[in-house]
């Protein structure tokens, strides 16, 4: 029996407190990690990503068959071969990143189905091995290893830049052709990797001149505090200077910041002509609500290269979103025959109440089609032959119009449209610019001339 219950009670309480402090610390780290993943829709920290993964948990296989189809002649595509061609996908279908991953995974399935419906590739059907990386960096490593072991023809994978930099070396090593179909900070130069996503220079060369001309020269930049935000903010500076504008204020926000009261005041202090938002992720969505709640959005408009990526225009009420100007290659509202067909196919597959077909979904669609067309044109699944075909400057007419692969940089020359968020949780597209080149990547990266280059360039 305890001699002094109050002393043991106090000791117990102290013990509880110690534990609680440890828990709080853990919770904080966890929140910091997940929310940094969370936010990385358009790419994240590139360094140190690879060492995150010594996971032993294999990513969940959602659509693999147990049939072993690993005949060697698959690679050479003998004419009599009717076995399906196995292809891979690795995306965050669950967890906080699924605001980006869900439309991408849906686009993957739709693209495979469409290619199969048109007769497949080399006369063979595609069979998808789709893994879910669960918004977990470790799952990416495990998933990539699993895909390499599956003997696939191509892999389309990765959402955050951290995930891409973790899996890209694995696919390089295995000589497994890799497509990264996401808007990101730019600069990846790797012969085995093809990027269909838009890069900052493509959005900025359209958005910043428009903002300066139509709203005024003084810009205030609000950016997520990681490499996408940092690099994009530099590009804003550069394009503003080149077009007679200036950046009068610049703030960077850790990805779990959800309170922007001070920022709203500081923007009012600086009274710029426009705010350039490079904010990313669920927590940062709060900025738009709080900016609108203070009534500042009526006086100082927002332009953005990230708003809408996580369907912000849906998640926020219309009054907070209305009037925000964005620049992307694809919008569900694009008024073209090709897009009407694409949207109809999407809605008949996933229901007409689908929240929004995101820009990311379109890159996935194009990535798969460019690959399928290149293989058909090359007449073989041989990696070098397919890369050579892709580098020859292939084009694809998709829902957003014509996109052309820039052979030297392995990035897309694509249209970029300006749009204004409207009151019905969507966008009104008001101007489209065709054939916008990835200027920075073209400057620094020529994989035809020097195929051994393998790095990510930064401005």
């Amino acid at each position: 029996m305890s001699a002094n219950p109050s002393v043991t009670g106090r000791r117990a309480r102290r013990h509880i407190y110690r534990l609680a402090v440890a828990v709080a610390a853990l919770a904080l780290t966890a929140a910091a990690c997940t929310s940094s993943d969370d936010a990385d829709g358009p790419a994240a920290e590139t360094a140190g990503a690879a060492d995150a993964g010594t996971s032993d948990t294999a990513a969940e296989t959602t659509e693999t068959t147990t049939v072993d189809t690993s005949d060697d002649d698959e690679e050479t595509a003998a004419p009599v071969d009717t076995e399906p061609i196995r292809v891979g996908s690795l995306l965050d279908e669950t967890g906080p990143l699924n605001i980006y991953g869900t439309p991408m995974a849906d686009a993957t399935r739709l693209a495979i189905a469409a290619i199969n419906a048109e007769g497949g590739v080399l006369g063979r059907q595609l069979e998808l091995v789709a893994l879910d990386s669960k918004s977990d960096q470790a799952e990416y490593i495990a998933g990539a290893d699993q895909l390499v072991a599956e003997d696939l023809a191509v892999v389309h994978a990765g959402i955050t830049s951290a995930s891409r930099e973790a899996i890209r070396p694995i696919f390089d090593e295995a000589e497994l052709l890799y497509f990264y179909n996401v808007l990101y900070e730019g600069g990846v130069c790797d012969r085995n990797t093809f990027v269909t996503g838009v890069v900052p220079t493509q959005q900025m060369q359209v958005l910043i001149p428009w903002a300066i001309e139509n709203l005024g020269p003084r810009l205030y930049v609000l950016a997520a505090d990681y490499n996408y935000g940092q690099i994009s903010a530099d590009w804003v500076q550069e394009y503003a200077a080149a077009h007679g504008g200036e950046v009068v204020g610049e703030d960077f926000f850790p990805l779990d910041v959800a309170e922007f009261g001070t920022t709203v005041s500081e923007v009012q202090d600086a009274s710029p002509d426009a705010v350039v938002s490079l904010l990313v992720g669920g927590a940062h969505m709060s900025f738009y609500s709080q900016y609108a709640a203070a009534g500042v959005n009526a006086d100082i408009p927002i332009v953005s290269t990230t708003f809408g990526l996580g369907s912000e225009q849906v998640a926020l009420d219309a009054a907070s979103a209305e009037g925000i100007i964005v620049a992307y290659p694809y919008f569900e509202e694009l008024d073209t025959a090709a897009n009407a067909e694409f949207v109809a196919a999407w809605h008949s597959e996933f229901g007409s109440d689908y929240p929004y077909i995101t820009d990311l979904a379109a890159y996935v669609w194009e990535g798969w089609h460019l690959w399928a067309d290149a293989v058909n044109a090359a007449g073989t699944l041989d990696r070098d032959a397919v890369i050579a075909q892709l580098e020859s400057g292939v084009s694809f007419d998709g829902p957003k119009g014509t996109v052309t692969l820039d052979g030297g940089s392995h990035h897309l020359i694509q249209p970029v449209s300006l749009a204004r968020a409207n009151t019905s949780n969507g966008f009104d597209v008001f101007e489209t610019f065709e054939n916008i080149p990835p200027t920075f990547e073209q400057d620094v990266c020529d994989l035809i001339a020097s195929p051994d280059t393998n790095e990510q360039f930064t401005p």
């Binding site: 966890a30 850790p254 009261g261 609500s289 006086d299 998640a315 009420d317 009054a319 929240p355 949780n425």
Partner: protein, 287 residues
Amino acid sequence: MSADRLFNLGFDLATTISILALVSIGLAITFGMRGIINLAHGEFIMLGAFATLTGVRQGLNIWLAMALSAAIVGVFGIVVERLLIRWLYARLVDTMLATWGLSLVMVQVVENVYGSVTEGIAVPVGDFSVGAYSMSSYNLVLMASAVGGVVVTYVVMRRTRYGLHARASVQSPTMAESLGVNTSRINMWTFGFGAALAGAAGALLAPLVGVIPTMGQTFVARSFMTVIVGGPAFVAGPVSASGLLGFVENVSTNQFTPVIGQAMLLIAAIVILRFMPQGLTGRRSLR
């Protein structure tokens, strides 16, 4: 500094503190009273936000929807306590594991029902100007609600029979039971009350943040830090900690950058806990 800027600074500061107090007071009750580390606290906040969203979409008046949301989350808390928590009192690590599991289930269920992105709701009141600054009137609602939440908690815990029994059950469960207090029932109400306060916080934040299934994560770390720094007193703790941490974060964000603001917040918490390991109210016993 001009008068309008000064007012604006004070207004921002009061908003930050109010939000901290709102998101942490529910946790302070379950933790301070029962020693339950509820890792699903953020998801209770999320549930409150989704309940409000649903209510408004069904055509309810937004204030009514918010009040209902708090009640709904409170009832949900009672159910959770009966099914899960009550088997685990005094088993700290087990409650953490159980509530963490619960948080995962809640996120996934809400996502299956609403999808990963769902339509948000509008801020129900307008804005006002002081000098050169335009500010949200809704922040006044937040401040009033934070004060209201604190007062309600104080009154319930200090001025009602339930509060007396609840405190007795904490201080000396055996003695309380032998005097006829049904401590098991009291624990149920305490957890429900904490959950209702979390639900109210979520309801109030719904118009100001992106309401998505994973939003709980944004708040849970902050609430925990506030509660730990505050210490065991369930009213004085969160109030003093919100005030102190809110002040540090707000002023350093304002003077420097948001990154330094976040860093200073953590540094302040670490320094306080180094010298006051049981929090700001650690030396005061529960009475």
